[in-house]
Symmetry: C2
Subunit: 467 residues, 2 copies
C-alpha cells in the first residue's frame, strides 16, 4: 500500500520548517519527514551556540584592555570553560526548544525517519511508501571530515560535538579557517586555550580581498598562530594529535575540523529523478525558484550548496513552500549576498566579492580604522574596510570588511547595494558623530574622489533656486 | 580705515571650519575670526570627550555581567576616576590638535577676537573694522546655566568644565535629562558615583514615544535615581548642594547642569542686519540655503538653533561656504534627521519623531529585545524599538529606539527613510543570523502585518514566470 499526500517536506531544519510554515498557511495535505535529531543546525550546533561561546570569550578578553580605560584588576579575572560550555548548552536548549514547537503538534503528519526515492514521486521511509505530488528536499548538510581522520575518535571534534564537551583541553588545533574556523579559533584562544589554526589556501574567513585578508590575518595572529598555504595532516600520538602542514608541526590535545559542510543527499536515491547530479550528488536548481529541472521537486537550504546561511535557508524554504502550492512556480529576486564571521573585529563580505570583480571597470575605496575616532575611544582601533563601485555609473557593487562593528556596516552596505545606490547617494546618509560608520564614510569619500575628483558637499542641490 | 575682504567667517568651530574648507577651495580672499578657545565644541567639550568617558564607564560596568558568561573576579575590578579623566583629556587633546591644523597656516587671515556688527556688512574685531561682501556666522553655542546658579561656583559644572576636573565626588546630580544628561549621567553612575538625575518634563534623552521612553526610564533607573516632572532648584549647603524637585530633595557634592545650549549671538549687534530676531536673539534662516532673509549673510551650525549636532553643523558650513561663493544661493536637500544618545542601550530618534506623527494615518511596529536571540547571547537583552510607517503607502517615516546597538539600527533606518523605502522593501534586506538587526525585522514584520495582513515571503517575485 502506498500512502499519498500533496506535499512532502524532507528535513525539519531551518529550510524545512520555513517551507512548512508556507505550506501550512494554505493546506493540511502535507507531511514533514525528519531523520536524526530535531532542532535546526543553526540552533543545535551552528550560529547560536557559537555566538554564545564567542560572547563569553569576548567578555573574558576585556581583561586585556581594561587598564587602558583606567580599570584595574583585569589580570585577576579567571574563566571556567566548563561553566562557559554549560551556559552555551543552556542557551542552545532554549533555542532548540523554540524550533521544536513547529512540528510538535503535527501528529502523524510529522514522520521520523530517513527518506529515499523509490520513484520520482514516491519516497520510502522506514519501509513505508509515500507518494507526493510535490516534494521539497531540505535535508541540510553535515561537517566534512576526511575519511582518514575518523580513526582519531574524539581527538577530532566538529561543530556537531564541540559544544557537547564538558571542558576543553589546553592545546587545540583548528583545521580550516573559513568563517566558522576563524570565529571559533579566536574564541577558543581568547578563552585561554593555546590554538593553532591551519588553512590550506591563503584566504581566511570567506575573504577574497588581499588587503582585508592581510588585516584579518594580522589581527587573528595576535591571539593564535595561524598557518596558511599547506594542507594539514593529522597523526595520533600518545598525548594527542600531531598536526603537520608544510614545514610546520605541532602536537595538540584535540583538533576541531572546520573544513566546510557537505549536503545530506547521498544514499537518497536521487538518481531516480533522472537528472544529472554533480560530484557531490547534488542536482542543479534554479536559485530563483528552487525547482529541480521541470520536476515537481524543490531543493532548499544547505542541501542545494548555494549559500549555507540561516537567512538564505529560510528564504529557500519560503520559496520552495510557496512554489510547491502552485501549478507553475514563480521565481524570486534573491537578497544581496551577505556573509559575516563573528570574529573581533568582525569579518564581512557584502555584494560582489573582490575576487569576482572586473578590476578594469571598478574603483576601490579604502579605510583603515587605526585612527578612526570612535574606534580609538573604544580601544578597538584596528581593521580595514574596502568598498567597490562601478567606474562608469558610480554604483556600489560590494565590500569586504575586517573592522569593528563590521556586522552592522555590512547590513548598511547590503541595503545600499540592494537599492542600487551610487557612492554619492550613500554619502547623503546622516553619519552621526562619533560612530564607526564615519570610517565607512572615509572609504566612500576615497571612492567618490576617484570617480569624480571635483569635491563638493555630499548633499544634493534642490532643483529650483532659493526664493 | 576699514579693511575689506570677500568673505568673513565668524567662528572656527565645526561649522566655521567646514565653511572655511568650502571657501578655500575657490578663493584666498577670506578671513576667519574666532573668539575664545580654538578647537571645536565637539572635540573640546562635546561628542569626543563624552564618548571617551562613556567607553571607560561601560568597560568598568562589565564587572556586573562577567559572571553570567562564566568569568570570575569581576567584583574585584576597581576604577580610578582620575585616570579615566586623564585618558579623556589625552584623547581629547589629540582630537583638538586635529582641528587646529585647519587655521594654523592662515597667517593674518585668521583673526583672534570677538566680532560685532557695526553695519550689515561691517564687523568690528577688537577695534579693527572689516567690511565683507559676504559674512558667515558660525559662532556656536554654550551651555545654559540659570543665572541664580552662578553663585554656586564650581559646585555646578557643565560639559565645558566636567572633563577638566582632576577627579569627581561620590555624589552628583545631573540636572537635565536630554541626550547629554542621560549619557553622562549613566556613565558617571557606572563609574561608581551615586547619581541623581532630574528632568522637568516627562520625556528623556530626546525621545517622544511613550513606550520607548518608559523603557529608557526603567533601564537608566537600574543604575541611578531619575526624577521627572518637576524643575530642580539648587541651594548651597556646607557640604555641597541641596537639590529640590517637587517633593524630592537630595544633597550632593557637585551638580552637572545639562539643560541644553544657547546660541552665541547675543551682544553681536545683529540688530544692524535689520531683520527680526527671536527671543533668543536669533534671526530666521532658510534651512536649505542658510541665508538670513535676502542678505549676503549666512547662519550656520549650533548658532542657528536648528539641530546642534556635528554632522548637521558640518553640512551647514558646507552649504554656507558654497553659497557665500555664489551670486545667488542654492538650496540643498538636508539629511534625514538622526539623533543618538550614547547610553547603553543606545537611544536614537530617526526621521519623524513620534510626537510629530498624525496617529490616524500611521501604523506602528514594535519589538522588545527581552527575548531577542543575539541580545540574549550578549547578555544585553533589554530595550524597545518602535518604527512608524504611513498607512496609505507603507512608506517608512521614522523610529524611536532604546535598544542594544541602537546607533547602528538608527543608521540603517535613516538610509531606508532617506530612500523613501516601504516596510516591505526594507524587509528585502538580508538580515543575517544571529544579529540585533533581526529585532528590527520583528518590528518591521509587526508593521507589515498591520499594513497588509496577507503573509508571504519577504522577497519580491520576478516579473516573468520561470522557464
Amino acid at each position: 500500500m502506498i500512502d499519498a499526500c500533496d506535499i512532502a517536506i524532507v528535513g525539519a531544519g531551518s529550510a524545512g520548517l520555513s517551507a512548512l510554515r508556507a505550506v501550512r498557511r494554505e493546506t493540511d495535505n502535507f507531511v514533514i519527514i525528519n531523520d536524526g535529531p530535531y532542532g535546526t543546525t543553526c540552533a543545535r550546533v551552528g550560529c547560536m551556540p557559537s555566538k554564545a561561546l564567542i560572547e563569553a570569550a569576548n567578555a573574558f578578553h576585556m581583561r586585556e584592555v581594561l587598564d587602558r580605560f583606567g580599570v584595574s584588576g583585569g589580570q585577576q579575572l579567571t574563566v571556567d570553560i566548563a561553566t562557559v560550555l554549560r551556559r552555551v548548552r543552556r542557551l542552545r536548549d532554549a533555542f532548540v526548544a523554540g524550533t521544536l514547537e513547529f512540528t510538535n503538534d503535527l501528529g502523524e503528519r510529522s514522520i521520523a525517519g530517513r527518506a529515499r526515492f523509490l520513484e520520482a514521486d514516491v519516497l520510502d521511509i522506514n519501509g513505508r511508501q509515500l507518494r507526493a505530488k510535490t516534494i521539497i528536499l531540505a535535508t541540510g548538510s553535515r561537517p566534512v571530515v576526511p575519511h582518514e581522520w575518523t580513526g582519531l575518535g574524539t581527538r577530532v571534534l566538529t561543530s556537531d560535538n564541540l559544544f557537547e564537551q564538558q571542558t576543553l583541553p589546553i592545546r587545540m588545533a583548528v583545521v580550516g579557517m573559513g568563517p566558522i574556523g576563524v570565529e571559533i579559533g579566536q574564541a577558543l584562544a581568547r578563552l585561554g586555550i593555546t590554538v593553532h589554526g591551519f588553512q590550506a589556501g591563503g584566504f581566511i574567513g570567506g575573504l577574497s580581498d588581499p588587503a582585508v585578508n592581510d588585516t584579518a590575518l594580522a589581527l587573528l595572529r595576535e591571539v593564535f598562530t595561524l598557518h596558511t598555504g599547506a594542507r594539514a595532516q593529522l597523526e595520533a600520538t600518545d598525548e594527542g594529535v600531531r598536526v603537520h602542514a608544510g614545514a610546520h608541526e605541532v602536537v595538540v590535545d584535540q583538533v576541531l575540523a572546520a573544513l566546510g559542510r557537505r549536503p545530506n543527499l547521498d544514499d537518497m536515491g536521487l538518481e531516480k529523478l533522472g537528472v544529472t547530479l554533480n560530484r557531490h550528488g547534488v542536482p542543479a536548481v534554479d536559485p530563483r525558484s528552487l525547482q529541480i529541472g521541470n520536476l515537481p521537486v524543490y531543493l532548499a537550504g544547505d542541501a542545494n550548496e548555494r549559500r549555507p546561511l540561516l537567512h538564505e535557508a529560510a528564504d529557500d524554504g519560503h520559496i520552495a513552500g510557496y512554489n510547491a502550492l502552485r501549478p507553475q512556480p514563480d521565481c524570486f529576486h534573491r537578497r544581496t549576498p551577505l556573509m559575516i564571521a563573528f570574529t573581533d573585529p568582525n569579518i564581512a563580505v557584502v555584494g560582489q566579492r573582490h575576487a569576482d570583480l572586473d578590476s578594469d571597470r571598478v574603483a576601490v575605496g579604502t579605510v583603515s580604522f587605526e585612527n578612526q575616532g570612535r574606534a580609538r575611544m573604544a580601544e578597538e582601533n584596528h581593521g580595514c574596510l574596502r568598498v567597490y563601485a562601478e567606474r562608469s555609473s558610480g554604483r556600489l557593487l560590494g565590500a569586504e570588511i575586517c573592522a569593528p562593528r563590521g556586522e552592522h556596516m555590512g547590513h548598511l552596505l547590503a541595503l545600499a547595494i540592494q537599492q542600487q545606490l551610487t557612492v554619492r547617494e550613500l554619502l547623503r546618509l546622516p553619519f552621526y558623530h562619533p560612530v564607526i560608520e564615519e570610517g565607512l564614510r572615509t572609504a566612500l569619500r576615497d571612492l567618490s574622489g576617484q570617480l569624480d575628483p571635483i569635491e563638493g558637499p555630499d548633499l544634493a542641490i534642490c532643483d529650483s533656486p532659493v526664493g
